[in-house]
């Protein structure tokens, strides 16, 4: 049986149990991907920009799209022709974290501060700019410092080398995992309503490999539902596929407890909002993309961004969504609930 390996740009740089929302289905016990003739391979890299360049260069088949970075890049370079075909984080998974005793209480307090980001090419920079722009603080004067992941980032926050960190929940979770105490600062209201993550593919691939893409994203949708229904099982399956992400310093029990605690709330970012009229996994909407363009225009200080990008409909596509969703979600939930480790 020929399996098409679909490589994904992993901008988290390392493998992480929260990826179980994608990776659980890779386990032979679930076999969500191979049954459709595809499989996922993570390619680790350190920034979103590297991901875009890798997509263009063909080093990966699909990758995460953060509108704040993707849209200005596409405007600047017409040859970067990517289509967002699957919305993988329907809720906003971006986070602002500070030390528990920090004077920073709201996003507005970030202005002029030293903001920790994972790397210079990370989304944290544009996310911060986007939120400050929403608050009317256009000239933010913030200093962005690359503090990396996990322990180094935790140490930087702990030792007050940065005043706050802005990153995806996956990244901030890993900081908590290594034992650093963090306080979460609420996102700005308008931004908080937006989804935060899409998966994009080169337009050419959407044409050429439609069948494989459907199988791929169906596998992701199934994995997400499965892990959401039984997080413990999801984590176990992830660890069985990626043993290197299993923490070595402490026992498995401790690690699982910590993870379960951290992901208790966060796991919902992967699921549709209950009040969302479109409950199809991965579906996008034009309104949402218009908002994305507007925010990207503000954060990148380019009022002509919408013009340069042209028709917003070319930025995303729902054409695979119905096929992706053509499976029995309830069956997956049942399967997860009855899953024995």
């Amino acid at each position: 049986q020929n399996v098409r390996i679909m490589r994904v740009a992993n901008t988290a740089a390392v493998n992480d149990p929260q990826q179980c929302f994608v990776t659980a289905g890779q386990s032979p016990r679930l076999n969500f991907y191979k049954s459709g003739g595809v499989d996922v391979e993570y390619v680790n890299m350190s920034s979103m920009t590297q991901a875009l360049q890798s997509l263009r260069a063909g080093h990966v088949e699909f990758g995460p799209a953060v509108p704040g970075i993707l849209l200005p890049a596409m405007a600047k370079d017409p040859s970067l022709d990517l289509v967002s075909v699957y919305k993988w984080l329907p809720r906003n998974a971006n986070t602002i974290v500070v030390k528990p005793g920090s004077p920073i209480k709201t996003a507005a307090d970030l202005a002029g501060k030293r903001i920790g980001v994972r790397s210079q090419g990370d989304a944290g920079v544009v996310i911060t700019k986007t939120m400050l722009a929403e608050l009317g603080l256009k000239d933010d004067k913030c200093e962005y410092i690359a503090i990396g992941d996990g322990a180094p980032a935790g140490a930087a926050i702990d030792n007050e080398r940065v005043d706050a960190m802005v990153a995806f929940d996956t990244a901030t979770a890993r900081i908590e995992l290594v034992g650093t105490k963090l306080r979460y600062v609420p996102l700005t209201p308008k931004f908080a309503q937006l989804g935060s993550g899409w998966m994009c593919v080169p337009r050419k691939m959407l044409k050429d490999e439609r069948k494989n893409l459907v199988a791929l994203f169906r596998g992701i949708a199934k994995s997400t539902i499965f892990s959401n229904a039984n997080l413990d099982a999801g984590i176990d399956l992830h660890w069985s596929v990626y043993p290197e992400s299993k923490p070595k310093g402490r026992t498995e029990e401790e690690a699982r407890k910590e993870l379960a605690f951290i992901l208790k709330d966060r796991k919902n970012s992967w699921m549709r909002r209950p009040d969302d009229p479109d409950q199809r996994m991965g579906a996008s909407s034009l309104a949402e993309w218009k908002a994305n363009i507007e925010m990207a225009a503000e954060s990148s200080k380019n009022p002509k961004l919408a013009e340069e990008l042209g028709d917003p409909n070319r930025l995303f596509s729902n054409e695979l969504i119905d096929e992706i969703n053509a499976f029995d979600k309830q069956a997956i939930v049942e399967m997860a609930k009855s899953f024995k480790g």
Binding site: V14, E41, S54, H59, S245
Partner: protein
């Protein structure tokens, strides 16, 4: 006194006949030889090691330093053990990642220094080309190659090939530069000796120039060996799916500092192995040189 005795005085092997006084000088005052002074130094040396490691461990425990900042020695040892006690394809083990890194290092080293040597030979046989190219070699070798590592990863992707090219870039220059210097330093008398025998250019190259330049070439190779480890680690830091550099990042992300120290130990072992292999080859090839002739390497 017979002729025979006189001849003996000559044929008795001496360390360096031409300079007998060199051997004498440090023998004053004569120290009484101990049973095995070397062994005793070694024992002391090992004792020192254990004392150092012991006090490290004790310091970490007594002062309750956070493990993810200063790992106790025992953490490193455990991580080392766990990493080694894995199957060759286990993605959380040292064998798999170490194998990838080693493959990158060996490929990059061989290709990079091979090309460096080849171009060095070609260029230095053509004085005109050499004069033309030399300023650019000098300028290019000053470009910090690690700075272009991210660009190379973008060009060539996250697999082994981008690391191999980074290592090639790093190893190419030291070998090129030293081999050009080596061919330049060939004693012209040696060339004249062969010319006086009506030797062909190829004979002159084979019998005089190439062997004369070899000590320089090896100096370059030693440097290249050290650089190749650096190149692999930096390349993997910048973007890779596997390799010890990736493992370091992964462990750092899990605050497993003991683990990343353990990976450093593995990297050192690879570095030491490479260097000592090279040194063995060098000792065989340059067997005619005095042993102490600057067998030094430094890893970055």
């Amino acid at each position: 006194m017979t002729t025979a005795t006189m001849m003996n005085a000559e044929s008795a092997p001496q360390p360096d006949i031409r300079k007998p006084s060199a051997a004498v000088s440090t023998a004053t005052p004569q120290r009484p030889r101990r049973a095995n002074p070397l062994a005793s130094t070694r024992v002391q040396s090992i004792l020192l090691l254990f004392t150092l490691l012991g006090s490290w461990e004790a310091a970490v425990r007594v002062f309750k330093l956070p493990r993810h900042l200063v790992p106790p020695v025992s953490d490193i040892a455990v991580a080392l053990w766990r990493g080694l006690a894995t199957g060759p394809m286990a993605k959380d083990g040292f064998w798999y990642h170490g194998g990838v890194t080693l493959a990158e290092i060996l490929l990059g080293f061989v290709i990079g220094s091979g090309i460096g040597l080849a171009i060095g030979i070609i260029v230095s046989q053509m004085p005109k080309v050499e004069a033309l190219v030399e300023p650019y070699v000098a300028a290019l070798q000053s470009v910090p190659k690690v700075a272009v590592a991210p660009i190379i990863v973008v060009w060539l992707g996250f697999g082994i090939s981008s690391k191999v090219v980074i290592i090639c870039l790093l190893t190419f220059f030291p070998v090129l530069v030293t081999s050009i210097a080596g061919f330049k330093a060939v004693d012209p008398d040696r060339i004249d000796l062969l010319r006086s025998l009506s030797a062909t250019p190829w004979q002159i190259f084979r019998k005089a120039k190439f062997p004369s330049a070899l000590p320089y070439v090896f100096a370059g190779l030693n440097m290249a060996a050290a650089f190749s480890v650096v190149g692999a680690v930096v390349g993997e830091f910048v973007g890779a799916q596997a390799g010890l550099g990736v493992l370091i990042l992964q462990m750092e992300a899990q605050a497993d500092t003991g683990g990343s120290f353990a990976v450093c130990v593995v990297l050192s072992v690879i570095g030491i192995a490479l260097t000592s292999m090279l040194r063995r080859v060098q000792r065989r090839v340059l067997h005619w040189m005095p042993a102490d002739a600057s067998q030094r390497t430094v890893n970055a």
